[in-house]
């Protein structure tokens, strides 16, 4: 079963950490991802640039509208993702709980639909 783990972090909180701590956190995240990959549980993962770099695209009645940033002003922003393949939700929760950002942000675990599924 594939799950997409969306990592949400309040960018202000993360950028307020001392740079040494920030480096330690990203090192920890990297080696954790490596470990998951070796175990065959990680399909893809990546951190994202800050939300100021985001662009939102909509097409309405054939017209494309492009706006700066996400539409809603949310407290926590999507900071990265992990795509994993594990037997069930409990395993997915275990993996999400050990991801460093879970300690100061949150991880949304979403089961992925199989391609070709009718519903």
């Amino acid at each position: 079963m594939k799950y997409l783990c969306l990592v949400y972090v309040e960018e202000k909180i993360f950028s307020a950490f001392p740079s040494q701590e920030r480096r330690a956190i990203s090192d920890e995240a990297m080696s954790y991802c490596e470990k998951l990959q070796k175990a065959g549980q990680l399909l893809a993962a990546s951190p994202l640039h800050p939300v100021e770099t985001a662009t939102t695209v909509r097409v309405r009645e054939g017209k494309t509208s492009t706006t700066d940033g996400p539409f809603a002003e949310t407290k926590e922003q999507l900071g990265g993702f992990l795509m994993i393949d594990v037997p069930d939700l409990n395993d997915a929760i275990r993996i999400a709980a050990q991801f460093p950002a879970a300690r100061f942000g949150s991880v949304e675990v979403r089961p992925m639909k199989e391609l070709g599924c009718a519903d």
């Binding site: 079963m1 037997p87 069930d88 939700l89 409990n90 089961p111």
Partner: protein, 417 residues
Amino acid sequence: MSDNRAQEVHAKVGELYRAESRQVLATLIRLLGDFDTAEEALQEAFAVAAEQWPRDGVPANPRAWLVSTGRFKAIDGMRRRARYDASLNELARRIETTTSDPLEQTDEPIEDNRLRLIFTCCHPALSPEAQIPMTLREVCNLTTEEIARAFLTKPATIAQRIVRAKAKIRDARIPYEVPPAPELPERVEAVLRVMYLVFNEGYSASFGPSLTRVDLSREAIRLGRLLLQLLPDPEVMGLLALMLLHESRSQARTSASGDLVLLEQQDRLLWNRDLIREGIMLVERALASKRIGPYTLQAAIAAVHAEAPSAGETDWAQIVALYDLLMRAEPSPIIELNRAVAVAMRDGPAKGLELVDALLKRGELAQYHLTHATRADFCRRLNRKDEARVSYERALALAKQEPERRFLGKRLRELED
């Protein structure tokens, strides 16, 4: 077979349904891997029993027979529907080869499946709004209508929550398992929370028009006993004890006219001694475990009350000490408020008032009617009538339940005399 005998068998099937259907369901979910398929198989198995048993007699092990029949019926159904959906053939084959017929194998511990069912219904990935009806429906065997009545809502609402919860269990793949040891304490806590919410709903509902409502407090206690049997954890003992000790006062909590009677004024002869005995025994067992959690501490407080011949003769010093421990285990403003009441009983209302005012000054529990009712009571005892009146009025404006409102109104009138 004579009509008499056939009737007896029918009665037996009905009795088995009430007593065993949840065990059979719990095992079928395990074998078939899906709630809806298992429920369908359960109904089919009982239908076959109702038809066959009067003719062939009741089998030696009815529960295993029901599981076995349900399993075969489900596999059969999948094969029939495989004409339209080929993947069902594969599923049927997998179930057939990876699970065994319960009639041919030595007993799989049925308790494990019941625990799996409880932990799945109370999985933290489900919202409490879903956990409660799932537990009451799947574990306690209440009907959707009964659950809806108990929560004063529409059956369609409850049915929808159950459907959504089952969809999440299936689509997000919530596993049907007893959590491994490192996760167990946290997961047990989630189960206990559901149980306590159910109990409290029943406890407060008993003031309302409760005649047509299922007794949720009794269901919660029944669930507590089942859980304790399956998992003898100290906090399970603690919560069961707490519920039993609260329940022991149910006759004394309301007057003949339906008015609220406070602990201080309750007729202690109306307290149920059997429930108290059982509750105290469980508290002692939980305390002896040395792994003392918040439920056990709350139960210990309830036990001190239960052992006191009157409110005046209560060991308030011990109650304050237990609240101190509770504050350390699980700090919360509600516990602080209760502690203030105990302190007032030990050291006088002026000390209690200080603590409540400190709470309010911090902006805690300002919208909670009992904070103001407690403050009003301290002021009344200190003969500070004007302050008492203001606080009773504030409490009255916030209170929602009719008996509580009547009680506060009465206290307010008494101030004028």
